[in-house]
Amino acid sequence: MSMRALTQLEIEDLYRDHALGLVRFALLLTGDRAAAEDIVQDAFLGLHQRWDKVRDPGRMLGYLRIAVVNGSRSRHRRYLAARRIRLEPLATVPSAEATVVAAEDQRALLAVIDALPRRQREVLALKYFLDLGEQEIAEILGISRGTVASTASRALTALARQLREEP
């Protein structure tokens, strides 16, 4: 098997294993399904084009996550003036009262997350959706571990404060 064919297969494997998680992560950052898919495809295309420059194959997922964060930021800058990011949970809500209350609670929470600064939203998504540690988050966002901790803390404080203010 040629080196080129191997490269192609490796990227296909990566896509198969991680595309879903990355699209979901991008969706949290952008609030737009189509944009999330575009960002992830661009991330894989970027990986494809720089494959020969990647020194540590074990860091592919980290590279892709960084590309998704950067792609989301680029898109956010382009559309910032046009519209706010808006996250929506599943539209179908069962009629059970507890489920309805939970769905309303989630909507309220997501609305508050929408209003957080970009970095706080990124840290929350990396920490509570991808379940990454502070060191990994710091590497992806290019900030210090201490900044990750303080940003997460500020974000949670803001969430708690805003939710208490809700009627």
């Binding site: 080129r4 490269t7 979901r24 495809q41 949970p89 989630q106 997350i113 509570y128």
Partner: protein, 221 residues
């Protein structure tokens, strides 16, 4: 009462569960094809009208050019019909000024007698001719057309690859152009974009989008 962190995880899960694995496009965006065709079809009447006008102009201008003394026969039409990447010659890239010139302007200037490139003809499918000038270089009007003149703000990825791009990188870019979200590129137009890029860079990759290019996750073109 669950903690705020747990509620956060649940809320994220509720959002992300809307994305299911079986709905995801392939690596090169299988789902985008319908959207691309829809957008492309909107341009078809305009392209057809433009083709008629340009063909009339070309019908007058090309015979004059062909009869110019000392001028070599244009290889453009035979090059356009040639399979991709076969026997392409390394040629000097056009200047930045030529490449960035608006299509209408460069078409007009190239149509003037004594200059190597005849006027650009736009087909109903969005493809153009000739791709190459008499001296074998890319037709600047064709380049300008694909680098933003056809669909404003859109440039095929294959045209921004460096000359050192590998076969895999070229295939990746071509597939992304064809199947990417919102891309206007069809098989024929992408073949032309590839031919222009290959001629400029001197690639000898045998890529033929029309007669079958395997794009992982998106099947065969």
């Amino acid at each position: 009462m669950t903690s705020l962190e747990d509620r956060l995880r649940d809320a994220y899960r509720a959002v992300t569960d809307t994305v299911r694995e079986d709905e995801l496009p392939g690596l090169y965006g299988k789902r985008a094809r319908n959207r691309r065709r829809g957008r492309f079809s909107a341009f078809a009447p305009l392209a057809a009208a433009a083709a008629v006008v340009v063909a009339i102009v070309a019908g007058v201008a090309v015979p004059k050019l062909a009869s110019s003394p000392g001028r070599p026969a244009s290889p453009a039409s035979s090059r356009a019909a040639r399979p991709a990447g076969t026997g392409v010659s390394k040629a000097a890239a056009p200047s930045a000024l030529e490449r960035s010139a608006p299509m209408a302007t460069s078409s007009a200037s190239r149509a003037a007698p004594g200059l190597p490139c005849p006027a650009l003809t736009v087909g109903a499918d969005g493809s153009v001719a000739p791709l190459y000038c008499a001296d074998g270089t890319d037709n600047p009007a064709a380049l300008a057309y694909y680098e933003g003149g056809w669909v404003k703000g859109f440039t095929p990825k294959v045209l921004v690859l460096p000359a050192t791009a590998s076969y895999g990188q070229v295939v990746g870019a071509v597939c992304a152009d064809i199947f990417g979200h919102g891309s206007p590129m069809g098989l024929q137009t992408e073949q032309q974009a590839y031919d222009l890029a290959a001629n400029r860079a001197g690639w000898r990759y045998h890529i033929n989008t029309v007669n079958g290019l395997s794009c992982p996750g998106a099947g065969t073109s």
